[in-house]
């Protein structure tokens, strides 16, 4: 069957496909996007091939506006720099691009998130004597802190959606002023460096956004799930009252692009 712009039905695509497609739709044409490894790569590449052909992708290892013809497996991959406008380094990516204010959208992952959008990718338990260590921050907090919008792409599990994360690796809407530890809105911590913050969280079950107080709510639920099921997969009391219905499902054409053009080798989409 030829790929069409008709919507696929639940069962005709995998949860990860919905996730990648929903994330791609967060990209506005012309956005300068700073993306992490994995699903963020699929999302930006799919967006560039569909609704956002003028979007630019920056990877933190230093490739600026690369045009990979083979999917990179990490942001430092040689493939990221293919046909790039610049093959620079981290100083350019983090300071020349991000700190200077070029970045519209951050596309990132996370191990745990709380209701203010604070993300933990560092430890479980008290940092000074942790029970488990994850990989660590990487560029997650830097990219999230100074981009105008951030979209987190995550797996929906009760243990990952927490009232409070054990360690704030990446700043959400309510954080602390250090060294005092006084709690404050992100705007007050960043002062004139404030540009925005977490705008959406996309999981395999739904799309979340943040209210005026900086608290997460369910915006749309993916086809095949109910808002209550999403709520059951959060360990805090998720606001589902603002859920405006189902997420627009992937089209056959989008699924086709994901499997045949973006990730034909089955790297992130087995």
């Amino acid at each position: 069957m030829a790929a069409s712009n008709e919507f696929a039905k639940p069962g005709e695509y995998k949860p990860m496909d919905m996730l990648a497609v929903a994330a791609a739709r967060e990209v506005n044409d012309g956005d300068i996007v700073f993306a992490g490894t994995g699903l963020p790569m699929l999302a930006i590449m799919l967006a560039q091939k569909t609704t956002a052909p003028n979007a630019v992708c920056i990877y933190e290892a230093g490739s600026i506006d690369g045009r990979p013809i083979d999917l990179p497996t990490s942001v430092g991959d040689a493939r990221c720099a293919h046909m790039a406008s610049m093959a620079a380094g981290l100083t350019e990516a983090f300071f020349g691009q991000l700190h200077r204010g070029y970045v519209d959208l951050a596309f990132l992952g996370g191990a745990e998130i709380d209701k203010y959008g604070n993300v933990n990718t560092t430890v479980v338990g008290d940092y000074a004597s942790p029970q488990k260590r994850f990989t660590g921050s990487g560029g997650n907090p830097d990219i999230n802190a100074l981009a105008r919008r951030t979209v987190f792409i995550m797996v929906q599990e009760k243990r990952r959606f927490k009232e409070h994360v054990d360690y704030i690796t990446s700043p959400g809407w309510r954080i602390k002023k250090w060294p005092s530890g006084e709690e404050a809105h992100k705007k007050d911590v960043y002062g004139k460096f404030f540009r925005g913050g977490v705008s959406a969280v996309i999981t395999n079950m739904g799309v979340f956004r943040f209210d005026e107080e900086g608290i997460i709510y369910l915006d749309t639920v993916h086809p095949g799930f109910t808002p209550e099921q999403v709520k059951d997969n959060c360990s805090f009391d998720l606001n589902i009252s603002r859920c405006k219905g189902e997420t627009v499902p992937p089209t056959y054409a989008e699924i086709d692009l994901l499997y045949k053009v973006v990730d034909p080798e089955g790297i992130f989409l087995p």
Binding site: D77, A78, A81, A128, D142, P171, W178, I267
Partner: protein
């Protein structure tokens, strides 16, 4: 400062003393000076202090080999081929090593300040995170910020109000000036000019920030060849102290235009890194069980290496199987 000296890999490792502070070229699993890392384990170095912008397979080899006392960085893992840095994680959980976390850009700020000869650099990166929670200043908690070690700053960071444009509170990150930068580069001229291909990562900053620099060169090439296009070069010969010419010195990490990441090798290392016992068996086979880099390459075998060899146009291998299809 003169021309760099050509030495062997064993001599290079011999120069590094127990307790020295090291930084590295590369990014996670790309362009790491692996042959020298193996030799440091073989020579059983102790109490090394790593300051690195990000960690990777090399970090895990050094930590598993019992060489590291302090790790300052922001990330460790093997990308798609091993999701955690098990050796670092285990030692952090058991409090057997001091782990000091910064953010990625904060690490860059520290190395950049060191590279430019500045004592610190201001940045707004990652404010409001637990990285800055004073309770989590692990070098401070260990009593290491008393000024007695010139390589450890007396504070993890400071904050100040921007006095010039009233931008608000901004972070100050202390410079990092490691004793050694251990660098892998694709091309080094006969007078030491350094060139890398594709992304530069923080290789320039590492070379400039360190007191002494050892470069493992995939190839030593005529100096004139590099000087024909000086804009493509990363560093001058007089900023490099020692050169070792050693093909495949970055294996199993990747080297643009020369070879791809050896995913299978890293996957099997990652599996072994889940316990000290299995790490030790791995090290017995791949580090202590081979006499030198030549024997290591012979053990890997030509078939495996040929598969990793980069396509000469694309700069990476098109013959490695990377996914499930």
């Amino acid at each position: 400062m003169g021309k760099p000296q050509r030495i062997t890999i064993k001599e290079a490792a011999n120069l590094i003393k127990d307790g020295d502070m090291l930084t590295f070229s590369g990014f996670t699993i790309w362009r790491r000076p692996m042959a020298l890392v193996y030799e440091l384990v073989r020579q059983q170095k102790k109490n090394l202090h790593l300051f690195e912008v990000n960690g990777g397979t090399h970090t895990e080899v050094l930590v598993g080999g019992g060489c590291v006392a302090i790790w300052e960085s922001c990330w460790v893992g093997h990308e798609l081929y091993g999701k955690l840095g098990e050796m670092v994680a285990g030692k952090q959980v058991r409090s057997e090593m001091i782990v000091e976390d910064y953010s990625h850009a904060q690490c860059v700020a520290r190395l950049l300040a060191g590279a430019y000869g500045l004592p610190f650099l201001p940045t707004a990166h990652s404010m409001g995170t637990d990285i800055l929670n004073p309770k989590y200043d692990m070098l401070g908690r260990a009593g290491k910020r008393d000024g007695s070690n010139p390589k450890i700053p007396m504070k993890k960071y400071d904050m100040m109000h921007d006095p010039f444009y009233d931008m608000g509170e901004i972070l100050l990150m202390p410079a990092a000036n490691p004793d050694w930068a251990l660098i892998y580069a694709q091309a080094v001229g006969t007078e030491g000019t350094v060139r890398v291909h594709a992304q530069t990562y923080t290789d320039y900053e590492a070379i400039k920030a360190a007191d002494k620099v050892i470069v493992l060169a995939e190839e030593i090439v005529p100096e004139d060849y590099l000087r024909e296009e000086p804009a493509l070069n990363l560093a001058t010969g007089y900023s490099v102290d020692y050169i070792v010419e050693l093909p495949w010195a970055a294996h199993p990490t990747g080297s643009q235009r020369f070879y791809d990441v050896d995913a299978d090798f890293i996957r099997s290392f990652y599996a072994a890194s889940k316990s000290q016992d299995s790490f030790n068996k791995w090290a017995d086979e791949w580090i202590f069980g081979v006499a030198d880099h030549q024997a290591y390459l012979e053990k890997l075998g030509i078939t495996r290496l040929e598969k990793l060899r980069a396509n000469s146009v694309l700069g990476y291998s098109t013959r490695v199987k990377r996914g499930s299809r």
